[in-house]
């Protein structure tokens, strides 16, 4: 579904991603793990088209999509949830969700139906549907951005650090949401520092360090391997 080969990202003289290669198959949830600064987010944003690539290629279902503009990637069915958790603070929850469906060309009724389903599934969001999104708590904002991304009915979901800065109980709720999406058959690339949490929902995982892929394996194997600890994963790994 998604194949990344020899990806390079540079910020001036800094080589943030140095030839990273990995793949995500259809319906698979793949985690990209690593410490802060390992190049995970840069990799994800480069796939999304929000950061310029300095080399390598990104293929979506076999088609080369390297260096496409972010709006083009969205149109191709790649939805991105950045770690900055960018809700549009001055728009209402409902407007945020509406905008998630921007690329869809099916009818307004269909879109409104999807929005109603999401609001049904997340009563907290439904209660605040007409409230501006900036007034939501961190966990609610995280759920909103994931729901907003899903409004596009994407083929691939790129999730960056969904647990960042959230209380453990809220992290559980967000990961419950991610597990639900995977169960529904969505292809997901999940970037996380919280390795234990990520491995609990992932099929496979790659470990990044200093811009390179250092290890790869099934989630179940990686979760127990001593190598994991050696690779400086999240504090609770």
């Amino acid at each position: 579904m998604l194949e990344v080969e020899g990806l390079e990202v540079r910020y001036g003289a800094v080589r943030a991603v140095r030839g990273a290669s990995f793949a995500v198959a259809r319906g698979e949830l793949v985690a990209l793990l690593g410490a802060n600064g390992a190049g995970k987010s840069s990799t994800l944003m480069a796939i999304a088209g929000a950061v310029r690539t300095a080399g390598g290629s990104v293929r979506l279902e076999g088609a080369d999509v390297t260096g496409q503009r972010p709006e083009r990637m969205a149109r191709l069915g790649v939805a991105t949830v950045p770690e900055t958790r960018d809700v549009f603070p001055d728009l209402t929850v409902s407007e945020n969700l509406r905008l998630g469906a921007f690329t869809r060309r099916d009818g307004a009724a269909e879109i409104a139906g999807d929005r109603a389903r999401f609001l049904d599934r997340f009563p907290i969001l439904a209660e605040r549907a007409d409230q501006s999104a900036g007034t939501l708590s961190g966990g609610e904002q995280q759920m909103l951005v994931i729901a907003r991304a899903m409004m596009a009915r994407p083929r691939v979901l790129l999730l960056d650090e969904p647990s960042l800065g959230l209380a453990p109980v809220v992290v559980d709720r967000v990961f419950g949401m991610i597990a639900g999406l995977k169960a529904a058959g969505l292809t997901i690339l999940l970037v996380e520092q919280n390795a234990r949490k990520a491995l609990s929902v992932a099929d496979r995982a790659y470990v990044m360090r200093l811009g390179r892929i250092e290890a790869a394996g099934l989630a179940a194997e990686l979760g127990t391997a001593d190598a994991l600890k050696a690779l400086y994963l999240g504090s609770d790994a």
């Binding site: 969205a74 905008l99 921007f102 907003r148």
Partner: protein
């Protein structure tokens, strides 16, 4: 009676100021760029009126042509002046905006004339009406009515249409909006088109006061729009409107209260008050959408 007169004066002047400010801030909110060529959009509409004045068309049709031309000029500003340098530094973009403004003004000087040119006005603009014992030009009431319609239309566009929602979203997180599939070029061109539409409408009302157009006609509206947005909050659409009306209130109050010999220093008093407002609220009266980078 004096109060009614005062209220009509403030509201009509404020209506024009608010529309001017809104046209400037719609671009600033998205690009973080003060479009110094904004005044020339007003000039373009004015000269279009002059050029079509001999055509014998009904005034409303000529007015529509003028507004259309300033919309086209607005979009052209984006394509010619901004798109090529959009990814460069803010300084480069600022200088391009000055250059484009100068270019348009000099084109008017060269191809038309440095001298004032007459602009056709509808007969109703020179009529006066009496309400509650107050005699006022019909033009003032038309200005208020037009502003009510334009502000209503604008607010509907920004709240009820997907394009409007996307523009508001782009004003706070441009890259995120793009990652949802909102094309950057569409948003920016739309902002310039709306800016041109407002400039065109303002032009008809503004030039309607004097009946002539000169190459430098846009400078005063640009300055007014800039001050109004600074008072109201550079990044807030509501702030621009509020700032426009507040500036009109200050100007009109000074007109009413200053003795004759001080009236020519009115702007000095106005700016002193603006400085006081900014000392009190450095970010303007209404804060814009939270954070957001330039694109």
């Amino acid at each position: 009676m004096r109060w009614l007169q005062f209220a009509i004066d403030v509201l009509s002047l404020g209506s024009a100021y608010a529309l001017m400010a809104l046209g400037l801030v719609i671009v600033y909110g998205i690009l973080r760029l003060v479009n110094f060529a904004y005044g020339e959009l007003i000039m373009v509409a004015g000269y279009t009126m002059y050029l079509v004045s001999g055509s014998g068309l009904p005034w409303l049709v000529m007015a529509a042509c003028a507004v259309l031309m300033s919309v086209v000029a607005g979009i052209a500003t984006d394509y010619v002046a901004f798109r090529p340098v959009r990814n460069k530094t803010i300084t480069a973009v600022l200088i391009t905006s000055f250059a484009f403004s100068t270019l348009l003004q000099n084109a008017a000087l060269l191809f038309i004339s440095p001298r004032p040119r007459p602009v056709p006005l509808p007969e109703i603009f020179s009529r006066t009406v009496e309400i509650g014992g107050v005699v006022t030009p019909a033009r003032n009431l038309i200005t208020i009515a037009v502003a009510v319609v334009m502000l209503g239309l604008f607010s509907w566009l920004m709240r009820a249409t997907v394009l409007g929602i996307a523009m508001r979203a782009a004003a706070s997180h441009f890259t995120m909006a793009r990652m949802l599939g909102v094309p950057a070029n569409l948003i920016i061109s739309s902002a310039f088109a709306i800016s041109g539409l407002l400039a065109g409408v303002v032009s008809l009302l503004w030039i309607g006061r004097i009946g002539t157009v000169v190459p430098g006609i846009g400078l005063e509206p640009l300055l007014i729009a800039f001050i109004a947005t600074v008072i109201g909050g550079m990044r807030s659409l509501q702030g621009a409107v509020l700032g426009g009306f507040l500036l009109a209130l200050i100007d009109t109050s000074l007109n009413y209260t200053l003795p004759q010999e001080l009236l020519k220093f009115r702007d000095a008093f106005t700016f002193s008050l603006v400085i006081l407002i900014l000392l009190w609220r450095p970010e303007g009266l209404i804060k814009g959408p939270a954070s957001g980078r330039r694109t």
